[in-house]
């Protein structure tokens, strides 16, 4: 299987302030990764580096076999899509318009949508199960619905990689479960490579296989969630008490 996203001794941070160093990971088609760690450990920094908002301090990122810095903005926009916690805030922006923005890298200079673009937009909404919301004003939706619209935007963008920054934040419990299942379905059926960050440790241990852990002053760790739990890495990184860790082990392994 060819590598979709690969980092080679990647060091991230702002200016000359290193946040996390020596990250070496490889992701293939259909891989789904949960990124965890306390606030300030570098999750957003990693996201911003992957999305080329900031430059890495050292090392490099390969996206679909090529150094990510060698892509033009437009080329990169066709390979990596993002979903943020930030939401569009406009009085008249419709669900259709938001998802249509995902087609930006493909449309002509005035942004006119072709029939193919419109079909992609509808298919994306269908895939996340909110086709009925297509004519609604984005601002009037619930948090869960907004989240799905932003995911539909990323799907319409038609990129092999989708990154989501805390997609389960602000969601109620059933919506969180629904979101996990949606992401897994996207990875499996659409062969998307998905990276998402989350604070819901207990849900992650139950529903995801692969974890990346970031923590302050500790090396970057990646591995199977069950293994990381058994090896005591989760206990170490999150400062969980021994007695509580035994409980976690009993419940999850």
């Amino acid at each position: 299987m060819s590598d979709i996203l690969k980092t080679i001794s990647l060091t991230i941070g702002y200016g000359d302030k290193t946040v996390v160093s020596d990250i070496n990971v490889t992701l293939g088609k259909g891989d789904i990764i949960a990124l965890i760690g306390p606030n300030g450990a570098g999750k957003s920094t990693l996201f911003k580096t992957f999305s080329s908002h900031i430059k890495p301090i050292g090392g490099k990122i390969e996206l679909c076999g090529k150094d990510i810095s060698l892509y033009s903005n437009k080329e990169r926009a066709k390979l990596l899509g993002i979903v943020l916690t930030e939401r569009p805030d406009d009085m008249f922006l419709k669900v259709f318009d938001v998802v249509a923005a995902g087609r930006y890298p493909y449309t002509d200079m005035f942004g006119n949508l072709t029939e193919n673009d419109e079909n992609e937009i509808k298919a994306s909404l269908e895939l996340v199960g909110i086709k009925n919301l297509i004519d609604r004003v984005f601002n009037t939706l619930s948090d869960g619905e907004k989240q799905k619209v932003m995911i539909a935007k990323a799907i319409a963008q038609n990129t092999p990689v989708i990154m989501l920054d805390e997609p389960t934040a602000f969601l109620d419990y059933p919506s969180k479960i629904e979101l996990f299942s949606l992401l897994k379905r996207l990875a499996k059926e659409q062969e998307k490579t998905i990276i998402f960050s989350s604070h819901d440790l207990e849900l992650l241990l139950r529903y995801t296989d692969n974890l990346w852990i970031l923590a302050k002053d500790k090396p970057f760790v990646s591995g199977k969630s069950q293994q990381l739990l058994k090896d005591g890495v989760i206990k170490d990184y999150f400062g969980i008490k021994d007695s509580d860790n035994e409980f976690l082990l009993k419940e999850n392994v």
């Binding site: 999305s51 990169r76 926009a77 993002i82 569009p88 406009d90 008249f92 923005a101 942004g111 009037t140």
Partner: protein, 341 residues
């Protein structure tokens, strides 16, 4: 909104604009019968007074007003979308303040240096004032461009723009403090704004410069549309944020600088017109908003000069008093409406 409704809306605004334009030709201190206006326009008229009134006064003023209205309105739309702030307008770039400072320097320093008021220099004074306003506006514009090329954060850019505006304003105030009474009067009059200063001789250059700028804004609609999602999303979708904000500020600043140079600082058009366009068409699509905002801007300014020319005002009512009088209630109603949603 359905396409047919959009078309009807646009047509309605255009018809209203044509009506207001014609009204502007025959309403004023001298009422000219409609038949005579047609004769004048077809050049079949021999009465020279009527020709002068129409061709030297009313027609240039109406054309200036409608172009300035379109330019300021669309400049405001660009600012509001770039800064994602419904209260943004071209003055946020400090451009009007830069123009005021330029004019202030010329008007107030002429008096201090030569000891005579600038109005005593006749024709040179009007050219000098336009030129000074343009240089002041462009100087501030370049300062803002230098900042926008260096930062991705729009909030910091707004703050810098406002600070530059305050800085230019305070220098202007200091100049005023040391100036002759007649000069201050001339400066205050310029600050009230007027669409009658362009006149036939400068109208061609003014029109061409504005039309080029208006035409260029149409090519920004795609980028403006994805900016509505926020800078991070727009960047991920392939937009070069810094280059795009430089282009938007350049275009918005260019239009504002030209209008301010010829007409003085005109308030409220840039702030209020984009809101009317959005609410009228319930849309955020700039492919529609750009032409709609321009057309609504034209209608408003034509309406404003008509009001200013109503019997009793004799065309001397400062245009800024009228634009604000109509613009302010619009802004208030928009804010109240958006709070309810």
């Amino acid at each position: 909104m359905k396409n047919s409704k959009v078309l009807i809306g646009i047509l309605g605004i255009i018809v209203l604009g044509i009506l207001l334009f014609l009204l502007n030709l025959f309403v004023g201190s001298v009422t000219i019968p409609f038949g005579d206006i047609v004769k004048v326009l077809l050049k079949e008229n021999t009465d020279n007074t009527l020709n002068v009134i129409i061709f030297d006064y009313r027609l240039p003023q109406a054309l200036t007003a409608l172009l300035a209205g379109a330019a300021l309105a669309v400049a405001g739309l660009l600012m509001q979308t770039l800064f994602r702030n419904p209260l943004a307008d071209p003055s946020m770039l400090g451009i009007s303040s830069g123009a005021s400072l330029g004019v202030g320097l010329v008007i107030l320093l002429t008096g201090a240096i030569s000891g005579a008021a600038i109005s005593s220099f006749g024709w040179w004074s009007t050219v000098g004032v336009s030129l000074a306003a343009f240089i002041g506006a462009v100087a501030v514009l370049f300062i803002m461009l230098a900042f926008s090329a260096r930062m991705k954060n729009m909030t910091t850019l707004i703050i810098i723009g406002l600070m530059i505006a305050y800085l230019a304003g305070s220098i202007t105030d200091i100049l005023k403090f040391f100036s002759l009474k007649e000069d201050i009067h001339a400066f205050v009059i310029w600050g009230m704004g007027s669409f009658s200063g362009v006149g036939t001789s400068k109208l061609l250059i003014f029109s061409i410069s504005i039309i080029i700028g208006l035409f260029a804004t149409f090519f920004l609609s795609k980028n403006l549309n994805i900016l509505l999602l926020g800078e991070m999303y727009a960047e991920n979708l392939g937009l070069n944020i810094k280059r795009n904000s430089v282009i938007i500020i350049l275009l918005s600043g260019y239009l504002t600088a030209i209008v301010t140079a010829y007409c003085g600082p005109i308030a409220f058009v840039g702030l209020a017109m984009p809101h009317i366009a959005r609410f009228l068409f319930k849309s955020s699509d700039h492919r529609l908003l750009i032409p709609a905002t321009m057309l609504i801007g034209m209608d408003l300014t034509l309406f404003c000069i008509l009001i200013a020319r109503m019997p009793g005002f004799d065309g001397n009512l400062p245009i800024n008093a009228v634009t604000a009088f109509i613009g302010a209630p619009v802004v208030i109603s928009v804010i109240m409406k958006s709070r309810k949603q």
